[in-house]
């Protein structure tokens, strides 16, 4: 099994990691949905959580962000306790989690990303409005600012959510299935936006279901099925053997065939040998 290599000679420092979780366990009732997961997310990169349905991917994400309570475990952001660093994180929930008939325009939704800045009272000034439009521009939705959100397509809704996250000016972007059910152009556009925020120094962390694009989009991966199966750089961990272990041997030949060559074992060397 692969582990994240520790920073040499610096055991105490968690500062090198954008996010580190230790022993995180979440349960519904008396059944663990996520069990004692350790993971460290390197900064300024794109990381992904991969696993079958019901593996606890979204649950892990939510527990990590304190949205749902954890039974045990610790989360640190840039080496600091989570609570003090919460405002450095932008969270993009699954699209289906909100009511899209809500009376709000695209602008209104993106402007919600400025709540930390504005609080209850402060007036939304010209520069705030300009920033909202800028964020919309980055996801290609500027012309839609006045549109009611219910009129948007799935891909456009995802773009609006992305823009709302951008409006937070966060250091870590956490996205739950951002590419589920969006059109190809939106997926390309969103990946481009995510890459640009990483270039600007931010860290991206996604739950993602499409195995075919994992190696193309992400540098680090956590294979999860309630427990941590493996974690580390994509080229080391994203292998057929570990994936079959993650998916309980249920990956079909078709799913495997769609994956990039590197994940498939070559006759001469097994993936496990490659890792070590």
């Amino acid at each position: 099994m692969t582990n994240i290599p520790d920073t040499p000679g610096k055991r105490t420092g968690d500062e090198g990691w954008a996010l580190s979780i230790q022993g995180l366990t979440v349960s519904y009732g008396a059944q663990a949905v996520v069990f004692s997961v350790d993971w460290r997310v390197p900064r300024e990169s794109m990381s992904v959580i991969v696993g079958p349905n019901g593996a606890g991917k979204s649950t892990l994400l939510k527990a990590m962000l304190g949205i749902i309570p954890a039974v045990s475990g610790e989360v640190r952001i840039f080496g600091q306790p989570f609570a003090s660093q919460r405002d450095r994180i932008a969270y993009v929930p699954q699209r289906a989690s909100v009511d899209w008939d809500f009376p709000a325009s695209v602008f209104d939704v993106v402007a919600m990303g400025q709540y930390r800045e504005l609080g209850w009272w402060r007036r939304r000034r010209a520069q705030h409005r300009a920033h909202v439009l800028e964020c919309l521009e980055r996801v290609g939705m500027r012309d839609f600012a006045d549109r009611q959100i219910g009129q948007l397509s799935g891909g456009q809704r995802q773009r609006v959510f992305m823009a709302r996250a951008l409006a937070q000016r966060a250091d870590i972007y956490v996205l739950d299935e951002p590419f589920a059910g969006v059109d190809a152009a939106t997926e390309r556009a969103l990946v481009e936006v995510l890459r640009s925020v990483v270039r600007e120094g931010a860290t991206v962390l996604c739950v993602h279901h499409d195995l075919a694009t994992v190696t193309e989009y992400f540098q680090h991966v956590l294979l999860l099925n309630v427990r941590r199966i493996a974690a580390g750089p994509v080229h080391e961990v994203f292998t057929e053997a570990l994936l079959q272990e993650t998916y309980g041997g249920r990956l079909t030949a078709l799913q495997l065939a769609r994956m990039p060559d590197q994940a498939r074992p070559t006759p001469s060397e097994t993936p496990l040998a490659k890792v070590s």
């Binding site: 939510k62 962000l65 304190g66 949205i67 919460r86 405002d87 994180i89 932008a90 969270y91 929930p93 989690s97 909100v98 009511d99 809500f102 009376p103 709000a104 325009s105 209104d108 939704v109 919600m112 990303g113 709540y115 930390r116 504005l118 609080g119 209850w120 009272w121 290609g140 939705m141 839609f144 009611q148 219910g150 009129q151 948007l152 397509s153 891909g155 456009q156 709302r164 937070q168 059109d183 190809a184 152009a185 939106t186 390309r188």
Partner: protein, 410 residues
Amino acid sequence: MNALFEALLMQAGFNTALVCIGAALLGAAAGGVGTFILLRRRSLASDAAGHATLPGLTAAFIIMAWLTGDGRWMPALMVGAAISAGLGLAAVHALAARTRLPEEAAIGAVLSVFFGAGVVLMTVVQVIGTGGQAGIATYLLGSAAGMLRHEAALIAAMAFATAVAAFLLRRPLTMLCFDEDFAAMNGVAVRWIDLALSALLLAVVVTGLKVVGLVLSVALSIIPPVAARFWTNRVHHMVIVAAAIGATGGYVGAAVSSAAHNLPTGAVIVLTLFTLFIVSLLFAPARGLLAGVWRHQVFRRRVHRRQGLLALARGEAIYDGFTLRVLRSAGWIRRDGVPTQTGRRAAREAARDEALWALHRQRQPGDGAFRYYHRVMPIRAVLPPDVVRDLERQFDLADVAAAREPRRGA
């Protein structure tokens, strides 16, 4: 009739005017708070809160009757009502959160048990037979007519304070209603804001006890926002429209029932609100039924016009009666179905527009603009002029090439 107009025009004396203003303020506060209640999907909880006031109200009455001989002092009744309604809401919340009961079952149970307890206490009031026992019945359905001046002033002040509080909390409330998880991540103290919303709801219900009555108090916080939803697609507008509708309902209800003494105010308010709701449902331009029918008709015409023009362009026969009527009324075909000069030109333009859309789809497969294509809008009306010019240039080049192709082959 005369008395009614006098009341509506605030000519029926200072007391009546004050009552009407108080009721209007109450309606405005209820509409504003109700908007967030509706968006938070807690409308039924306001019904539970209303009915759950009864035991506290009657208990307060009994205690005061014991102590002073008269149980009708409104502030104490309000406090009693607020306490038992608060307990009711807490019970609903606890049942829904701690057990597997769905919230509506919890609401039903709490509502009926509290109301039943209140009714039992009311018979106790009758048994004691203190002065002013009739006064408590007016809290069931509301009675603006017999209201004292200080009561009306208190109601106005409380309604105003509630409205101000709702206004101050509008941002966190909106965040909470739209996306609770996101709100929590962004520093909205979700639990406290939720509690504040419940407190605002309690304030509205308790303030409205004497005006709208506890049985119908739910209407005052539900109907205005529901009606307002037809008029607008943005929260801050919805709050204002709901407040206006609530204020109108409260004002008219108080005025009418103070002119006609035996009409319960709550019932008149509800009927007024319902009228405004029907008007909104039918005539509101944003989401009203007639506007929807109208938009559909416009769209249907556009579809038939486009289909007809494309058929003309391809030289196909048209059989659909509506399509023929549309084309004829536009002057594009003659009575016998033969296209006119302008008809032929329009057909060419339509075919070209289709082709430009197709070309655009080739170049930008996922563009959001295709929503408009599916709404049969001409490409010029949707895409910026420079993009259209570029498309046309490409299209014409392809056209020229295609025209040359066979010649070269020949």
